[in-house]
């Protein structure tokens, strides 16, 4: 729909359901008589009675297209273009604006306006659908009158087993306001079906997941981080291991959208954390076609496959942010995707010295998969603040910490070969003479910082198959 033009001269927008508009009705009539005025009325075409040149805008088309946020609004139009606008009633502003003196004798000096109907929260989304010239191209699906829409979405296979929000056009358009990117822009080719995945499709699934529009840039970045050759989302689906992507968010956007990096950061209860991770998984399920029992061959899976996303506690961290360790820029908004098989608690409530705590953390790492499985593991250690402060107090850098933990996970081949320790599982016999067999691959250990201030705990996120054979951790900047 094209934007309706405003007539030259002075233009007013009013509604009857606004005490300030009622108050200035006679002032508008005065202006109309003395210099000319066109008045658009939003709720009652007969209002204001004293004015002659009234235009019915109960459809709100003119108000919506001219971004009227407050009534009364006065606009001066010259040669078809808006030159200036003022809102509310203020004699001090209205007199110079109209070039008229002695306006509104007997009225108070100033009264604030009311909200324009065109931005009424109950109407805004529908008006957007009506007037924005929607670029949405997805197939429309009409549920029959007797269908329960929530049940229908389960039956169509669109959900992860929990209810989803119906992705109506109004909700999707509102979601798309969260990004400057065009709905038709192809974000990724989504595995496993290799389907072109547009910003619009991501927005639809973000609505379903329960995201707010301001989360959309993070969801888009998460989708970009996992749907590529190096992260290998298809492999994560196809494996019998329980791997799924965890998304760690860095940068100021964590605060702007209200993410959690403190109490229960990896658990339930924070809308942004929960729905961003879920939206990513719904994109993989719905757009990519990755469903359990089909391409997803996980033996057990794990709860994080519903969605796993948390923010890093950068402010409380002794070190720089995670994304900066992986080629990103400190302070930049970014997501890091890592293929993890779940979460494991590492407790150590007695160590006060870094060396002792390093040994506890290394012992935890050794347990990943099977304590006799080595070589090529990636892992993320999320240190709780009380563990991290042991290293801060001792002045340890993150590099120093990683180096020491990795060193402590090296074990002699003789302990790891098949049959050693009475366990058939193990590395081939020819490696029995090796002295220092590392558990994690070089560069494979990441350290992040999150959790609440109380608790001498850290969380281990064991990796899946790493490197070119498996999944490589990926950091992607978040674009608006």
């Amino acid at each position: 729909m094209t934007k309706p033009a405003l007539p030259d001269g002075l233009v007013a927008f009013v509604k009857r359901d606004c005490p300030t508009c009622e108050l200035v009705g006679d002032v508008l009539a005065d202006i109309e008589a003395r210099t000319g005025l066109t008045t658009y009325t939003q709720d009652d075409p007969a209002f204001p009675e004293a004015v002659n040149q009234r235009i019915d805008d109960t459809e709100l088309s003119v108000s919506w297209h001219h971004d009227i946020e407050t009534v009364p609004t006065l606009i001066r139009v010259e040669n078809g273009a808006e030159v200036e606008r003022i809102v509310g009633w203020s004699r001090e502003q209205w007199e110079p604006f109209t070039g008229l003196e002695a306006l509104g004798g007997g009225l108070p000096e100033w009264r604030p306006g009311c909200g324009s109907l065109s931005v009424d929260p109950n109407l805004a989304n529908d008006l957007m659908v009506k007037f924005s010239g929607s670029e949405i191209s997805s197939r429309r699906i009409v549920f029959a009158a007797q269908e329960d829409e929530f049940d229908s979405m389960f039956q169509r296979g669109w959900t992860d087993g929990l209810p989803v929000v119906p992705p109506t056009e109004a909700r999707v358009l509102a979601m798309l306001n969260g990004t400057t990117r065009s709905p038709s822009e192809i974000v990724v080719v989504a595995p496993p079906d290799l389907v072109d995945c547009t910003v619009e499709k991501v927005a639809i699934n973000a609505v379903m997941a329960g995201c707010k529009p301001e989360y959309l840039p993070v969801v888009l970045a998460a989708v970009e981080a996992v749907c590529n050759e190096t992260f290998n989302m298809h492999g994560l689906l196809a494996t019998t291991m329980p791997a799924g992507p965890v998304i760690v968010v860095n940068g100021e956007i964590r605060k702007r959208i209200g993410m959690n990096w403190s109490h229960n950061a990896m658990g339930q209860g924070n809308r942004a954390n929960s729905t961003i991770g879920r939206a990513l998984q719904l994109v993989i399920r719905n757009v990519g076609g990755g469903r359990p029992g089909e391409v997803d061959r996980a033996t057990h899976g794990q709860p994080g496959k519903l969605g796993f996303c948390f923010a890093e506690d950068e402010e409380g961290s002794p070190w720089g942010p995670l994304n900066a360790d992986l080629g990103g820029v400190a302070g930049e908004d970014a997501v890091t995707a890592f293929a993890t098989c779940g979460t494991t608690l590492i407790t150590d409530q007695l160590s006060r010295e870094p060396e002792s705590l390093c040994r506890s953390l290394a012992a935890g790492l050794l347990g990943m998969g099977n304590s006799k499985s080595v070589l090529g593991f990636d892992a993320m250690l999320v240190l709780g603040p009380e563990h991290a402060s042991r290293f801060r107090d001792a002045g340890w850098s993150k590099e120093q910490l990683i180096e020491r933990i990795v060193q402590l996970t090296e074990r002699p081949g003789s302990e790891l070969v098949r049959g050693a320790g009475g366990i058939t599982e193990g590395i081939p016999a020819f490696m029995a003479e090796a002295e220092n067999v590392p558990k994690v691959q070089p560069g494979g250990l990441m350290i992040a910082h999150a959790g609440s201030g109380a608790g001498l705990f850290s969380m281990l996120l064991p990796g899946w198959v790493s490197g070119e054979m498996g999944s490589q951790k990926t950091t992607v900047p978040i674009r608006p």
Partner: protein, 91 residues
């Protein structure tokens, strides 16, 4: 009535797909659902005779009232015990 946007890659038709039609009813269980409209049972009695003549096994069901959808338990019973269902409208 709600209209939503398709969240999928749109590789499959969006409408519900009909089950494949059987080529013969011989040996299949046919459910006859009486919706409780008057004389619907008369029509179904005749259908039962004809169906049994061609080798079908017939199960009879009845909705408590024609004015409401069949109860969930009844729908479940029909869907788990029958291969085919014929619903009789009558007036």
């Amino acid at each position: 009535m709600t209209t939503v946007l398709d969240p999928t890659g749109e590789r499959k038709p969006s409408d519900w797909q009909r089950l494949e039609r059987p080529t013969s009813l011989d040996g299949l269980t046919v459910g006859l659902l009486d919706i409780s409209k008057p004389r619907g049972d008369v029509f179904l009695d005749h259908l039962q005779i004809r169906l049994e003549q061609i080798g079908a096994k017939v199960e009879r069901f009845k909705k408590p009232t024609f004015s409401k959808p069949a109860p969930v338990d009844l729908r479940h019973e029909i869907s788990t015990t029958c291969d085919v269902v014929i619903e009789a409208l009558a007036d």
